[in-house]
């Protein structure tokens, strides 16, 4: 439709980890975690990545987010391969792709206040420089994620799990990203709180057109939130397509078993 390159394009990505040698004289072995992955994320789109533990779904997310290195040329950000990004382009990529992790309490350093936590990436990205402006930006972010500004001086230990996850999302939003990688972002939350965070993520897409790579083992959550879904099994994407279509007419045997075992 449009000639703009997709936000993220993954082409033929394979990745393996070196295993420690069992014995000194034997060759080192490698554990292949990702095999020939193809995946695109368009601007403003929520892509669900479903898989069981050990399927490689988190590794794929980390490769896209730049936390792990991928082979040259396999991941492109707005048409440019990650390893070719330099200077302003690299900064732009680093700013544009942000993470929300599973355990909300753990991802916040317990020593710092909410304000300090959210301000850190703003400073790192150099978007806003004046202390007063940073403070205002933090206030605005808290408002965006539905937390009162009175929480600025709280520390993570004083917040509930859901509130911590809101802070983590505010921190991810602080650099005005184009893509949020949500790695099991609601799995550790209480049910009654999970819904409010899912609503928040949906709202962020509507309001700011933030794309999301939503990684989860929970079919219902992915079905609820994602526009497109990719099913990953033993390092390979076995099926992908529009969420409704994949859930209604699963083609691959693994997808079928996954859907039929959903309760």
């Amino acid at each position: 439709m449009s000639s703009n390159p997709p936000l993220i394009e993954v082409k033929g990505l394979s990745k393996s980890f070196a295993l420690p040698r069992p014995v000194l004289w034997k060759p080192a072995q490698a554990l292949q975690v990702l095999r020939d992955i193809h995946l695109t994320i368009q601007e403003g789109e929520i892509v669900g990545l479903v898989g069981e533990s050990g399927s490689g779904k988190s590794t794929l997310g980390e490769c896209i987010g730049g936390l792990q290195t991928a082979p040259p040329g396999t991941i492109k950000f707005r048409g440019t391969a990650l390893e070719q990004l330099q200077g302003a382009g690299l900064k732009e990529y680093q700013r544009s792709v942000q993470y929300v992790f599973q355990d909300p309490v753990e991802t916040l350093n317990p020593r710092y206040t909410v304000e300090q936590i959210i301000a850190e990436p703003i400073r790192a990205a150099g978007l806003v420089k004046q202390p007063k402006d940073i403070r205002e930006a933090v206030e605005q972010l808290l408002q965006d994620v539905g937390l009162d500004a009175a929480y600025m001086k709280s520390r993570p230990a004083q917040l509930s799990g859901g509130q911590c996850q809101r802070v983590a999302i505010a921190r991810a939003l602080s650099t005005k990203p184009a893509l949020l990688i949500c790695d099991e972002a609601v799995s550790a939350l209480d049910l009654s709180v999970q819904a409010t965070i899912l609503n928040l993520l949906g709202e962020l897409r509507r309001k700011y057109r933030i794309s999301q790579l939503f990684i989860s083992h929970d079919l219902h959550v992915v079905k609820y939130l994602a526009d497109r879904v990719a099913v990953i099994h033993q390092g390979t994407i076995v099926e992908s397509g529009h969420t409704e279509h994949v859930f209604k007419h699963p083609e691959h045997a693994y997808t079928q078993s996954l859907i039929s075992s959903a309760l």
Binding site: L67, D103, E106, T107, N109, R111, E120, P121, A125, A168
Partner: protein, 265 residues
């Protein structure tokens, strides 16, 4: 909690000794009086006198200065160097990390005292060299501690998060990693101070540390052992002070570790 209190009480005795020695000594620690050798405790000499008739209490108090400054200086500089090396090794991994940590392993292979003896033999006697020796053998334990911590911390959620928003190495190191490591460094510091004092006294016992007539706990112990039959109480006095200092630091370290564990769980 009990160990923490016991350790603190024992150490406060040592610290009070140090403070008194800075303010004023009861009498001149080097004033000899052969006529009054091995005098029993009296109003004038609270702990009696030694083989030259010098006031034991004053010598004991003055010796606390060299014991504490040398061990604190040695362990402190060892900690700084060790932590930096360990953090760098853990952060860089790869070749640099391996080289640093293998070098630490080599240092680790020598017993503390042997290493210190070797260094002092090479460098010569004197307080500064003892301090250096203590620093050298303290380095590997701190490096190992920091290396392990940095590796462990890579999996901490907030470190991963900081990497994900490209906080930069300096921010990750100084704002996240080092503050989180402080409790462990404190524990190791306390334990290392115990062995630092032990090394200082051992070296001065062998005559390699503070040179006479300046008093040192080890030196006093050495002198006292020659007169054990004449004045059996004399060696007990420096011995008890050394015990207070070493046990105090060890108990303090254990106490902090236990409390930290409690606070974490």
């Amino acid at each position: 909690m009990k160990t923490l209190i016991t350790g603190t009480v024992m150490l406060s005795v040592i610290v009070i000794m140090l403070l008194i020695s800075w303010i004023d000594l009861p009498s001149d620690p080097n004033a000899m009086n052969i006529a009054n050798r091995f005098a029993p405790p009296s109003g004038e000499h609270w702990l009696g006198t030694d083989q030259y008739g010098r006031d034991i209490l004053s010598r004991l108090l003055l010796a606390s200065q060299s014991a504490l400054t040398v061990s604190l200086g040695g362990v402190g500089s060892g900690m700084l160097i060790g932590c930096i090396l360990g953090a760098v090794a853990g952060y860089m991994k790869g070749l640099i990390g391996s080289v640093i940590m293998r070098a630490m392993d080599v240092l680790f292979a020598f017993p503390n005292l042997l290493l210190a003896l070797m260094l002092v033999t090479v460098l010569g006697t004197g307080q500064v060299n003892v301090l250096l020796a203590i620093a050298v053998f303290s380095v590997p334990s701190f490096a190992r501690l920091m290396y392990g911590f940095v590796l462990e911390a890579q999996s901490y959620g907030y470190i991963k998060a900081a990497r994900s928003y490209n906080a930069g190495h300096a921010v990750i190191l100084f704002r996240h990693l080092i503050p989180a490591a402080l409790p462990r460094i404190g524990v190791q510091m306390s334990l290392a101070l115990g062995s630092g004092i032990l090394t200082e006294t051992a070296l001065s016992f062998l005559g390699l540390g503070v040179q006479p007539p300046h008093p040192s706990w080890g030196g006093m112990l050495n002198e006292a052992q020659s007169f054990m039959y004449l004045a059996p109480a004399y060696p007990l006095i420096p011995g008890f002070v050394i015990f207070l200092a070493v046990a105090g630091f060890n108990l303090l370290g254990d106490g902090i570790a236990a409390r930290h564990k409690e606070a974490v769980s």
